[in-house]
């Protein structure tokens, strides 16, 4: 009996590889297991090899271990590319129409299975994915009825015939050659609670969070790995009276979002690197006009078109320092899917509270990796619209209202168009309290200080979540999806260090960081980019360069667990054994 298992499915793009994986994760999630999935994308749309690796466990993990316990193989390439990761006790299930004989490894057990055969006999070749799913589940000793209930859900729109064919395939799978199969079954321990948990990708969680935050307008332009956000919202917003528009480009997207937000609707746009570069002027406009704006940027490999389907975290610099001129901006950096949801709600609240752009900074792995999650709690959803002026608060003022009233906290009361007696002007030119252009130097200074200082309260907040192993010498800190891998690496090494992630990068939680630099001998930043971007930002703002080190990777793939472990060990050795 085991607590966790790593399973790979692979075949040719278009054969339903991803749906095998997703359905497997749904079955497991419905039984109370935690799952985490990682996809590889090939650069072609159809054809070409594709794989999905799934980790299943009793406790939540957000990383794929380096070794694979079981593989389901629908093409030869899958085996060739991944064989080196197979555990010594690994199991290979393969479609027996493949002639893998020659390449079959010795160290592992390989079981040929009649995947294509059963599928064709009971339905069509397209149903290989059901058949494959069935075999994997059988190997995990999962009850057939759990699998069929997921399939019924999945196919319920396709009609009885399709459902029955699929169920028939399952039936064949679950009765196939009991003797051979039973001998290799991998028995997972039963979860403590048999909760049926949801399965999401980060982009789902962002979209769901946006809905719950009251977002009712989206204008966006498709781009990997952000498109799912607009797709999800486009599908469900209309039923709630809202609207999603795919517009002509990212410049239109961000400006339309700004317009809708100015008019009082919580609105969002989502993009990735190239689109972000195009949005920078608009983001600056929101900063200057103090218009709330929420933008998702899910990072992929840059610069330029880079590697659109590969993982990186290299847009932090341009977000932290980018856009001509200087304006206030908040960067939230969720590290988990649960975090995505809550950060999104927080993003809308902060955008309205501080009247400025808020960036939700994701990465491809966090955006697209499916994962079993703990249900969010409705009670956690708290909405706050900031200093929004009610219609009844206003009387007609001879001199007009002041959208940029200078206040102690730098935040002016906000009036939405349509509100009686509230009409006013806003502009991306420097302006006075009335929102009218002026180049008076004193006014300029005051307005700059108003904008640049209004986020100061956030500097005091605790935005770094630290998992203490009470080894207060080294802290490994990261943001985004590497957190899951870091967590696992620390667990594997027997918790030799403290580790954590940062939830808000801008404004940088200075107070907490200064304390951290005091408390620890070494702060190690783990990030996926060349320039050690987060480490550089911390160095710029906090100093103590000699206490700040980096583990970074920039080859388009996420860290493996062992890369982090190696990194941890090297740094510990360097530090304490004078290497």
């Amino acid at each position: 009996m085991i607590d966790e298992l790593t399973i790979l499915v692979g075949g040719i793009q278009g054969e339903g590889i991803i749906s095998i994986g997703i359905n497997l994760m749904k079955v497991l999630s419905s039984l109370g297991y935690y799952t985490y999935g990682q996809r590889t994308f090939s650069s072609r749309i159809k054809g070409g090899n594709t794989t999905m690796i799934i980790h299943v466990s009793l406790e939540k993990t957000m990383a794929i271990p380096d070794t694979i316990d079981m593989m389901l193989v629908l093409d030869e390439e899958t085996l060739k590319d991944n064989y080196h990761r197979l555990d010594n006790n690994g199991l290979i299930l393969y479609d027996n129409i493949l002639s893998l004989k020659s390449t079959l490894p010795e160290k592992a057990t390989a079981i040929p299975l009649p995947v294509s055969k059963i599928s064709k006999e009971e339905g069509s070749a397209l149903m290989k994915s059901t058949c494959s799913l069935g075999f994997i589940c059988r190997m995990l000793d999962i009850n057939q009825k759990h699998v069929s209930s997921i399939l019924i859900k999945r196919f319920h729109k396709k009609g009885k015939k399709i459902i029955n064919q699929n169920l028939q395939i399952l039936e064949r799978v679950f009765t196939y050659d009991k003797e051979t199969i039973d001998q290799y079954i991998k028995h997972l321990n039963i979860p403590m609670k048999e909760l049926n948990r949801p399965l999401m990708i980060g982009n789902d969680s962002i979209a769901f969070g946006a809905l719950m935050a009251g977002c009712r307008f989206v204008s966006s332009y498709p781009i990997t790995p952000a498109s799912e956000i607009m797709e999800y919202l486009g599908k469900c917003l209309p039923s709630y009276g809202g609207l999603m528009l795919q517009v002509e480009d990212e410049i239109a997207a961000v400006n339309m979002t700004i317009g809708a937000s100015f008019a009082g609707v919580r609105s969002i746009t989502a993009t990735s690197g190239p689109g972000l570069s195009l949005m920078l002027e608009g983001i600056g406009l929101a900063g200057m006009t103090e218009t709330p704006l929420v933008v998702v940027n899910s990072q992929r490999v840059g610069p330029s078109t880079g590697l659109p389907t590969k993982h990186e975290q290299s847009d932090l610099f341009t977000l932290y320092y980018g856009g001509h001129g200087e304006f206030p901006l908040i960067i939230l950096s969720p590290s988990t899917i649960e975090d995505c949801f809550h950060s999104t709600i927080r993003a809308f609240n902060l955008a309205e509270k501080f009247q400025c752009p808020v960036i939700l900074l994701l990465d491809l792995t966090l955006s697209l990796s499916p994962q079993t999650i703990d249900e969010f709690s409705y009670e956690d959803i708290v909405l706050n619209r900031g200093k929004l002026v009610e219609e009844s608060d206003l009387r007609q003022e001879a001199e007009g209202v002041k959208p940029y009233l200078l206040t102690e906290d730098g935040i002016s009361p906000r009036i939405l168009p349509g509100v009686l007696n509230g009409h006013h002007h806003i502009t991306g030119l420097e302006h006075n309290e009335f929102g009218l252009p002026t180049d008076n130097p004193l006014n300029r200074r005051l307005m700059m200080e108003k904008r640049m200082q209004k986020l100061q309260p956030l500097l005091e907040e605790d935005e770094i979540v630290i998992r203490m192993n009470n080894k207060k010498n080294i802290l490994f800190l990261t943001f985004g999806s590497p957190y899951g891998i870091l967590e696992r690496a620390v667990a594997v090494t027997g918790s030799t260090v403290d580790y954590g992630y940062i939830k808000m990068i801008k404004p940088l939680p200075k107070k907490q960081l200064i304390q951290i630099i005091k408390d620890y001998d070494l702060l190690v930043i783990v990030e996926n980019n060349y320039s050690q971007q987060l480490a550089t930002i911390i160095k710029a703002e906090i100093g103590n360069h000699n206490k700040i080190k980096s583990i970074s990777k920039y080859d388009g793939t996420p860290f493996t667990v062992s890369e982090i472990i190696d990194g941890i060990e090297v740094l510990i050795n360097e530090k304490y054994e004078g290497l």
Binding site: P198, S261, L383, L420, N421
Partner: protein, 286 residues
Amino acid sequence: MKSMKDYSNSINPNWCPGCGHFSVLRAIQIASAKLTIPNEELTIVTGIGCSGRLSGYINAYGFHGIHGRSLPIAQGIKLANKKLTVIAAGGDGDGFAIGLSHTLHAIRRDINITYIVLNNQVYGLTKGHTSPLSGRGFITKSTPYGSTEPPIQPGILALANGATFLAQGFSAFQDQLVDIIVKAIKHTGFSMVNVFSPCVTYNKVNTYQWFRDSLTNLDDITDYKNDDYQSSLNKLVETNGLCTGIIYNKAPDIGSYTNSNLQKPLVELDLKFNKEEFSNIMESFK
């Protein structure tokens, strides 16, 4: 009853004396008065240029955005709150150089807003550069030997792209301009009004007098039919785009977002979902 004064604020425009933009400003104010648009429902969005300053001179909600992006902002505002009367305005450079793609996509999208082009065929604010609407041979700081590119024909382009309301005005024809803007605002789809608004400082070719000599006034043509696509197009070709009046006006498209899809202004929707809705969505991920 409302009067023009109700839409004026006390700011003295920074335009050159005689600039055509004054007249467009006035026409918008008079049209608003004629339509008695409540000040709090009027929203003016502008781009960058001499023309862009317009929003700062109207007693209404105003958003002076960035160069070339007045239309995306205006569409966002209208989609968010369809109760507002939204007018976007900007220069010929704003709308046909840097903003050309937005202009054409906005036409296509046919959202119920009005777009007024303050067309002086030159870049005024940057102190005299060529515009895509400048004529061949036009000499500016950036075309010292005369512009070699044929000008965009904004009217023809708009019609070719499916505009449902197209009109042209001239700063010196104040009454006609007011009338056009009134009708443009009333049109329930996207309405585009291209106004010949002379730049007295940097355009010494397309002057008031030049326009007086060159323009055909469609109001003077008794049998002009503005609901026939082909005659509208022909008229534009025939006059080389130099005509004023309502050139084309047809019922906007039923697909258009603000006309049919939205039951309620988005801004009036409840922000918070109830627990059941939340749970249903959560279930859908299982």
